[in-house]
Amino acid sequence: MQRVKNAVRSRSIHVCVVDTGSCNGCDIEVLACLSPRYDIEQYGIYVHNNPREADVLLVIGAVTPQWEDKLIALWEKIPEPKAAIAVGNCPISGCVFNRHDSYVSAPASKFIPIAAEIPGCPPRPTEILSTILAIAPLAFKDFERERK
């Protein structure tokens, strides 16, 4: 049973993108993954933007005040097993925005556990794609067995 689950989970990954105050650069690179050139769906990754059916949360941006509580609430809505990936420098360090006088409170790992990080400003679509593919089997493998 566990084997079947593992196989299914690594071939059908639902992704939710949440933008917590970015410059939009990473957003469009995630969007570009949808394009026929990279074709994210051929790997069984579906971008739905619906937290309730997501497995992977892509966090973009440097956590603005409005998101501080909502990011946590959003994370709690995602059913187990789940993993969060930080896309771009923004959620990792705050990128250029993490300066004196700005409103952001990076990094995102202050609020939710981040499983993987993709540095770059912005990272290339291929990098985003390969990270999702690499993290999914690792994070979801034998989830039920290990929880016991």
Binding site: P65, Q66, K70, A73, Y103
Partner: protein, 128 residues
């Protein structure tokens, strides 16, 4: 009971919008015209305008200044269109009533400048 997740106190966020140099300049200019302290104006605007309108305040103000009709000198001196259509600080009824009074006073032979100034003061009293 469900928690209201997205309803938050927006006032600090609105204040952040009004902090940029252009907004500050615009608010000061409007305040000068109406004879209102900028602080009161900001408070009123934050309570009545949504965030997008606040962001757009300077652009609308400029647009309103550029499009003031020349056919009615009194209305354009008071900024009848500017303060109702472009910047919805007053309703059209309020503005029309004020205009009516101002016209009356003009008819009695009072100076244009004083009338305009007084009318704006009276209108501006609503903010404090």
């Amino acid at each position: 009971m469900m928690d209201v997740l997205y309803e938050k106190d927006l006032r600090p966020l609105k204040l952040h919008i009004l902090e940029s140099p252009r907004h500050r300049r615009t608010i000061r200019e409007i305040g000068r015209r109406l004879g209102v302290e900028p602080g009161w104006l900001i408070r009123w605007a934050m309570a009545h305008f949504d965030m997008q309108l606040l962001e757009n305040l300077p652009a609308r103000f400029e647009q309103g200044l550029a499009h003031q009709g020349a056919d009615d000198p009194l209305a354009s001196a008071i900024g009848a269109e500017l303060f109702t259509v472009y910047l919805p600080f007053f309703t059209t009824e309020e503005m029309n009533a004020a205009l009516e009074q101002a016209r009356e006073r003009l008819g009695r032979g009072e100076g244009m400048e004083a009338v305009v100034k007084d009318t704006l003061r009276v209108l501006g009293r609503g903010f404090a």
